[in-house]
Structures are given as structure tokens and as C-alpha cells.
Amino acid sequence: MKVPISWLADYVEIKENIKKYSDMMTMSGSKVEGYENPFHEITNVVTGKITEVTTHPDADKLIVTKVDVKTEIIQIVTGAKNVSKGDIIPIALHNSTLPNGVIITKGQLRGVESNGMMCSIQELNLTVNDFPLASEDGIFILPENTPLGIDIKEVLGLDDTVVEFEITSNRPDCLSIIGLARESAVTLGKKFKLPSISLKENGNGSVSDFIKVTIEDYELCKRYAGKVITDVTIKESPLWMRKRLRDAGVRPINNIVDITNYVMLEYGQPMHAFDLDYLQEKHIIIRRAKEDEIIHTLDDQKRTLNSRNLIIADGDKAIAVAGVMGGANSEVNNDTTSILFESANFDGVSVRLTAKQLGLRTESSSRFEKGLDPYNAESALLRACELVEQLGAGKVVPGIIDCYKELPDKKIVPFRPKKMNEFLGTSIDDKTMVDILTSLEFEVNMEKMEIAVPTFRSDVEAWADISEEVVRFYGYNNIKASLQSGNRATQGIKTYEQRIRDTIRDTMLSMGLMEIYTYSFTSRKVFDKLLLPTDSPLRKTVVITNPLGEDFSIMRTTTIPEMLQVISHNYNRRISKASFFETSHTYHPIEGEKLPNEKNVLTIGLYGDSDFYSIKGMVKTLVEILGINNVRYTLDNDNPSYHPGRCAHVIVNEEIIGTIGEIHPDVANNFETPKRSYIGELDIDKLYKLTNVLKSYNGLPKYPEVDRDLAMVVDETVVTYDIEQVIKSSGGDLLQYVTLFDVYRGEQVGENKKSMAYSLSFRADDRTLTDDEVNKAVAEILLKLDSELGAILR
């Protein structure tokens, strides 16, 4: 909320400089976002009087003038058409500055010296709404009696400082000058001057002669107050009012509309003015709209309403959307002669939903939606009438229309100073508390130990709220820091799962992988890009009903697309190789359950300088560190997203815990990644269960190992896993390790054959092995390799 300091000063004395004032207000809970003089850019612009006008010797369209700026007479050349001798105008002197960074210096125009510039209202960043008598397309001519040589900001009232407050949603009362003046007074330790209103009411008749009001829905309209003004003269409002409205960010329009806006800003109570002549049957009805009822609003739009919208209607039709915007049919215009001022209390939620539905959030609706004080409606109405009389805008008809069923009583909450001090960790004495609360217009009854809460403070409900009121003026930063001394101790420790996730992350980092973070939602399109069949379970997703767009419309069931996008991003920036991992969630709906299963997954992605065995090695290292044995890898030639010959299931105890492989070339194409990209997805939830954190020590061997290398030729179709299974099962107890160290294909071994070279290690725990023993074991192995796999020793 933008607040001109001069306006606040009507209700509270502010002597502090603006910086100090802003800091103090921020620290008592009214956060100052910033402050500025909106016209601070205008410097060295003064009033001057044209004393002489002559023609330019070399230009028909220019004139040469002499201007009296009090301290001197200067020569200015101008092309302006609307100026003549005797006019008083704003003069930008040599080295002056104007809004939007414009700098004026002296110079020559067609060979004649010009020592300044005459300003139009646009050049001063003003509009005809601010100064209705100013020329819209010429120099701004000031009233005849304007003194000369005076700073233009002073003359036009452009020298006010405007403070911008951030008002939290619980304090609609502070969306007003009066609310902020009250807060300022308590903050500065000054007295808040409550405005007192006096009315002459010299209009004829009584309000009931002019209008009747019926509330049909008291739930959505708690109060409807109105007063009638006759003999209205529509004209511009005075400079001081236009200036304040403009500084507060509201465009001045005419005296009546300006008064409603002025009162809204001052009292925080939105108001509306209807042209009485256009109200059918002289009857105001506050009712819900009919389905598809249409209203033509002030902003010249036809809007379709429904029964959830509260409207103001006359005997015939909708004339306003309650609390949101008036209708064009009853708008105040230049011919208006009598008006009805509306000051009502509408239900906040209803106004908010209607404004949202219509896409029409206004100054009015944004105040109503926070819930306003019904008592304020009457004060604001009277203030508007007072301004009408002050401005000579019309005659106020005696009497008030005021419809309501019941108005709320003041809330009573217990006063519990001891509890409050215990809660805050303070020792604030009762008197200090009472003083603060009283200045905020809470009434403290020390006998009953009760507090009556002012009606404009609907946010205050119990002792915790009262504590906040006290402590924000006592000073949040006067609370002494403590550290739960004497309390029960707790253990700061990560859970088993959290520690395993740490281990997984550390292992991945140690192998050189970069950790990434990607979004958890994605597009349905990724399933097609992954070549998944239409019945793939991964297509069963959690769907966002109001996504930011199709690209972010479902919760991911696989992390591969995001990993591929990251690979693509880097590859397309000429990064030749990279490896990544992510530990994150995938989301899987569960039939009959509200909440889905959120699975923990590890995703690995590599490209450049890597192959299938790189990613397999990483998985091997990880499971080894987690103490998981019996890991098996089997070809998965059935996964549509992967290369059918280069994809494996990672299997532990017959359960698939993950998939690794080279991405399918078509998928690589779809995601614009390199063809040879390697992806792995491991189920962390399964790793939790398989991890063996218990370590135990086996004695170091006392006797030496005996190594034997053997190279055999097998068919291309024979896989390493099978060879090693045969070796291990036939090698007996003496066999310790089996290590593949070479694979060779070529003419010497024949077509569709390969040579596999293994190093075998034998050892016994109780003796040094003899050659005979080892030979026997090797012979047994060879025999089995031959009989089971057709392997021939080279």
C-alpha cells in the first residue's frame, strides 16, 4: 500500500526522518518496502513568466522568448504554439533534470541561444487527470497568480514522500491511512488523532424518500449502509485530493468518484456511487445473481454471472457486482445530479471467488476478500458525505440507510500476562502490556483479567495473538536468546535409510559422477519418446489437474527422460563427455489409495568415453560398498527404451533391483542425446532391504596362492556368467578367485568363436598347495568346461 506521508500526518505527528520512520515501522510489523518522492527526478525546474515574444530570424515555426524566473531574465527558443506574453509556465533551467532521465542544458536552436525549456505536463510525468485545466498537447500554463522562481514541485505539490508498505493478509485494517496512522502512533509513541466528522446535511427531505434497500442474503452481505446526495455538480476534485490519490496510485477522475476512492484509501472501506436517476423503482436489492445473468461493468465488459455471485440490483437489473465493480448503467457521469453512496460489508470469501471467476481483482475486491470490519462502513460513509460538503459537490440528504441483521460484539479474550511471559521468554510487567494494548485500542479489564478486542482486529483470537501484539511493540529483538536449558535431551541422528542414501551419494561422487537435480513433473509425451507401449505400467501416472502446461502435467514414473535431457543439454553445448547421477522420487498411483507410492530411485547417466561396462562397473562398486552379494546381470532384450543387445537387469535374490544399458538409438534420437548414452535406474527402496552394514573380519591367509592362467575357445553365444559359474562350481574349495583378463576374437580362433582368458587363484588355509593338487583342480575345471560349454583349451 502506497501512503503519502502528508496524509498520515493528518492523524499522527511524524517528526522522525523517513529512514528512521521506515525502520521503526518495519520493526513493529508494518513492513516498509521502500519510499520515494515520485517526482524526485525533477530538479531545477522553476516557475517563469514570459515577458517578451519575438519571431525567430531563421525559422517560421520557432519563437524567441524572454522569461522572468525572478533571479534573472533568460532567453528561450520554443516551438510551442499555446504560449503568449504574460503566461506563467514551468521552466527547465540549464542543467535541469526531468523524469525518465531527461537532462536539459543550454544550446542553440537554428543559431539562436536558448537557455532552458518550457515544460508540458507530459514532460513532468503528469496527466490531465492530475491537472484538468492543463493543455494536453502544449506547454503547461499555470494560474495567473503563481509566484515566479519557485520550484515547480512545491507549486504543484509534487514534493510529498510516498512510503510503500507491505501489509500482511491478517491486517486488512492496515490497508488504510487510518490503520497505518494508528500503528505509526503506537510505534512512535505519539497520540493517534481519531478523525471526527461533522455534517451539515442541508439536502431536502429524507433518505427514505429517495431509495429503499433490501438485503436478500445476509450471509454474504452483513451490512449495507447508504446516503443520498442531491444537487450534485460533477467537476474535478481539488488539487490536494488529486495529488494524494495520484501519490497513492489511484487515477483521479471526478469529484464524486475521487471521494469514494479517497475514503477507501483513508478508511480502508471500499465505496461506490450510483447515479440515482438510473436506479429502477428506486430500490436496491442485494441478492445472488441468476444463472447467466449479464452485467455490463464499468470497464465496458459484458460479464456473465451465476448464483454464487453476489450482486447489487435495482428493481429491474444488476447494477454492480458486490464488492468487485459497479455497472456501466448506473455510472456517475458529467450529467449526474443525485447519487447514492454505498458503504457495505460483503463476505470476503464470496468477493474473492467472484473476483477470481471474473478475472477482475480490484482495489475494492482485494480489500473485501480479507474480511472487513462492518462497523467501519458507517464511519466511511459519513466521511464521504463530509468531503462532499467540503468540496461543494452536492447537498447531503439527512438520514442514513443502514441494513443489517446483527453486528458482531467485541470479542472478549482472557488477559494472561504470566502465560504470555512464559511463552515469550520475557518478563514484561503488566503495566507495559496494558499500555501497549490500550494504545492499540484494546480495552483491558484488570478486574476480570479480560481484554475486549476492537472490531477491526478480527485476526486477534486468543492469548498467543495478544502476545504478538505486546511483543512487537516491546521489541522482538529485546527477547533474550536462550537454548532450551534444562530440557530433555534428544538424539541427533540420521535414520538407517538416510545413512544408506548418504552412502549411495558418496559412492557415486567417488566414481566421478556429478549430482543433478531435476523436476519431478513431466509431460506424457516422454513415454512416446521412450518408445513405451500403450499398456506400459509407467503410463499410469499421478495427474496434476491445474498444471503450468502440458510439459509439467504429470508426476514422473521414471527419471530417465530428465536424465536424457540433462545429457542432451550438455552434449549440445559441446561438452564431449560427462557422467551424472540423481537420487530422487518417482510417483506411482495405488489403486484405492488417496496417496501414491513415492519410490526412491538412483539414476545414472553417462556419455562419451564410456560403454556398457562403465555403468556396470559403477553398479558393481555400489553394491559392493553396500555389502550386497549375489548380484547377477541378465540380458534384457525386451525393454523398448534400451538397445536390445546392451541392456541388463540387475538381479539380487531373483528380484530385479534395477536396469542398466545403452539407450535405444531411436530414443537417443528423440532426446537429441549421443547414440552411445548409458542409463541406469536402481530401486533404492530395494537397496535399503538388501544392504548389509554388518562387517566382519576374516583372518589373512597364512599360505601363498598359486595362480594358473587358462585361455579357452568357446562359441560366441556362451556368456561369461555361465563360464564363471562352471569354473566356480567345479573348482572346489581350493579355488579362491576367477578373473577374466582377456577376450580375443580373430582368425586364429575361428568364426563365431571367442577366446576367453582367465586367471585362477588357488589356496588352502592350512598348507602350501602342491603342483599336483592344483593341476588336478584345473583338470577338473577344464573337463567340466568342455562337457558343459564345449570350451576347448587353447
Binding site: 518495519t26 520493526m27 510489523g29 513492513k31 493478509s169 470476503g348 470469501v349 477470481k356 476478500e369 512464559e422 511463552f423 515469550l424 521468554g425 520475557t426 486468543a462 498467543a464 502476545s467 504478538e468 512487537r472 529483538n477 527477547i479 536468546a481 536462550s482 537454548l483 532450551q484 530440557n487 534428544t490 538424539q491 541427533g492 541422528i493 540420521k494 538416510q498 551419494r505 557415486m508 567417488s510 566414481m511 566421478g512 556429478m514 549430482e515 543433478i516 537435480y517 519431478s520 499421478v542 495427474v543 496434476i544 489437474t545 491445474n546 503450468l548 509439467f552 508426476m555 543439454h569 550438455n570 561438452i575 557422467s579 547421477f581 522420487h585 488417496k594 496417496l595 501414491p596 513415492e598
Partner: protein, 339 residues
């Protein structure tokens, strides 16, 4: 004979100076100390000496032998050291050439911030609590005193799955779940991923991370909140860091505060990082609203508590000087390598 021995010693002394290689030394050794060597030859003549002379000459002969051995040994060492030096010279490296590179993985900056915060609070006896990202409206709003009709529940801020299921907008629902299931004392922090309907730009992301903290026990005060956050701020931003509470409003705490730390970049003098303010806002905090405690079955007349929360992205950006939030989710290697 004595003369002979001294003569031999003299010769060895002289020749040892001239040796050029290990072979020369071996020759020298054979020549004087070998079985057919000169010293051996002389000693063979000992038998011809008198009883009196024998021990004297014997002693001398031993001394000469020791001297010769020493001389040969010294010559040997000298030669070895020369040869070593030659070898060292040959093997001299350009130590300014680059070292071998090892691939090292880097933690993501968001992880760095989360771990740093976790470590501070683990040390203070907090546990790390987690909960679902897809959450019931009840836990995300209702139980946190954000009722139907509250603007925070608007569709324009929140992603909905069903009318009563949403993507959590804060990690606070974890606090509710913990409070419902745990008897005080409760001391937890809840790091996690949260969602809000903000279009992606330099300072907004529909996916981001928060860390919230919660303490509930008998006699917890707002002073305890201040003390805890002071410890936290000093651990994160340095021993000289100060904190400042500003009154604010959150539906689930009362009183509520926004918490500033003195700028880590300029120590509060005012700079670009703190926009000249000297303070940087990092946390929201407050005393748990009695209604929230009651919603979780905890009696606010017996127990009280405080809660606080910080945005991980914002903290990481401030800490590392990252000027565009999108970098955190783009995962450009050249960005990730810098952490």
C-alpha cells in the same frame, strides 16, 4: 716387511683416487686383498718373522687391511653417488607439467546447503523427518490453520491432484505428521521438495526445496527460538553473524517473524548482496500456533513450541552468488563443476 705394508697402503691410497668405474674398484680389491693379492702375499711371509716381530707386524697388517677396505668402500660410495646423480639428472621432470586428472564427482549446490543445515541441527539433537510430496489437503492446509477460503489455497498457487490431494506447498505437513505420532519432546528438521504454481524464471521455480524445523516440549519459549536461530546463523554464516527478527504473519505460528542475518558479504555495512540494507532475509519463524498444536492432539496449555523454515534455493543463491535459479535445474557440467 713393515715398509712393504706401508708401501701397499700408499699405493692403494693413490690408486683409489683414480678409479673411474665399479670394475676399477673390483680390480683394485682383487689386486690388493684377493687371494693372490699383494697384501695376502706379504702376509704369507709372516711365518719368517721372529716371535717378537710377529704380533707387531700382524697388528700393522690388520690396520693396513682395514684402511684398504675403508678406502675401497669410500671409493665405491663416491662412485655410486656420482652415478646416482647422473641418473637423477637424466630423470629430471618438468614439474610444471599438468598432473594426471582423476574424475571427481561434485555434490549439487542444493545438497551442499541441505547437508550444511542438517549438520548444524543434528549437532543440536534434531532428527531429520521426511514425508510425502504428494499430500492430503488436510496436512498441507487444514491442520496448519489455513482454512478453506484462505488465499494460499488458491489454485493459482497450488497444484492439485484431486480436490483433497495436492503437491505439498511447504514441508510443514511433515511436522503435522510427526506431531500426530510423537509425544514431545520433538526436535526435527524437515528438508524436502515442495511445489508452487510459479512460472519458471530467474527467481522462481515450480519445484523447489525447503528446510523446516520444529521443536515442541514443555517450556519452550520465543527466546529459545531466538537462541537456536542464532546458533544456526553463526554456524552457517560465521561467528560474527547477528540476527534480527521482524514481525510478520504466518497462519501456523503466532507470534510470527521474518528473520534477517547480518550480511555475510559486508558484515552489515551495506553492499550489493544485501541491497544496501546490511541484512539479508533468510528465514521465516514463529511460535507454533496453539490451534496447530491442538489439531495434532498436543495440549497448548502444557506444551509450547517453535518452528522455522528456509528456502534452500534462495540460500544457495545467496551463499554461492548464483544469479539465476534456473541454473540449479539445468545441470550444466560447467556449472556443477564449480561446487
Amino acid at each position: 716387511m713393515k715398509q712393504q705394508l706401508q708401501n701397499i697402503l700408499h699405493q692403494v691410497t693413490k690408486q683409489a683416487k683414480d678409479v673411474k668405474s665399479l670394475q676399477d674398484i673390483e680390480k683394485l680389491r682383487v689386486k690388493f686383498l684377493g687371494k693372490k693379492g699383494e697384501l695376502t702375499g706379504v702376509l704369507r711371509g709372516m711365518g719368517a718373522l721372529s716371535k717378537e716381530e710377529r704380533p707387531i707386524i700382524g697388528k700393522l697388517a690388520n690396520e693396513v687391511r682395514e684402511s684398504i677396505e675403508t678406502l675401497i668402500k669410500q671409493a665405491n660410495e663416491k662412485l655410486l653417488s656420482i652415478e646416482k646423480n647422473i641418473q637423477f639428472k637424466k630423470e629430471k621432470l618438468d614439474v610444471t607439467m599438468p598432473g594426471k586428472t582423476y574424475e571427481i564427482g561434485k555434490k549439487h549446490p542444493l545438497t551442499l546447503v541441505i547437508e550444511e543445515v542438517e549438520n548444524v541441527f543434528l549437532g543440536l539433537g534434531y532428527q531429520i523427518a521426511e514425508g510425502p510430496e504428494i499430500e492430503l489437503v488436510h496436512y498441507n492446509f487444514e491442520a496448519l490453520n489455513i482454512h478453506e477460503g484462505h488465499p494460499a489455497r488458491d489454485e493459482q498457487d497450488t497444484f492439485y491432484i484431486q480436490p483433497d490431494v495436492l503437491l505439498r506447498t511447504q514441508t510443514s505437513p511433515v511436522q503435522i505428521r510427526v506431531m500426530e505420532n510423537t509425544q514431545p519432546p520433538i526436535k526435527i528438521i524437515c528438508p524436502g521438495r515442495v511445489y508452487r504454481s510459479d512460472a519458471v524464471d530467474a527467481t522462481h521455480s515450480p519445484v523447489f526445496h525447503q528446510i523446516e524445523g520444529l521443536v515442541v516440549d514443555k517450556g519452550i519459549t520465543m527466546g529459545d527460538l531466538r537462541g537456536t536461530l542464532e546458533v544456526f546463523a553463526k554456524s552457517m554464516f560465521g561467528e560474527n553473524t547477528n540476527i534480527r527478527f521482524r514481525p510478520h504473519h504466518f497462519p501456523f505460528t503466532e507470534p510470527s517473524a521474518e528473520v534477517d542475518v547480518s550480511c555475510w558479504n559486508c558484515n552489515g555495512e551495506g553492499c550489493k548482496v544485501c541491497k544496501g540494507e546490511g541484512w539479508v532475509e533468510i528465514l521465516g519463524a514463529g511460535m507454533v500456533h496453539p490451534k496447530v498444536l491442538r489439531n495434532c492432539g498436543i495440549d497448548p496449555e502444557i506444551y509450547s513450541g517453535f518452528a522455522f523454515g528456509l528456502g534452500v534455493e534462495r540460500t544457495a543463491m545467496g551463499r554461492f552468488g548464483i544469479d539465476d535459479l534456473r541454473l540449479l535445474y539445468e545441470n550444466d557440467v560447467r556449472f556443477l563443476q564449480q561446487f
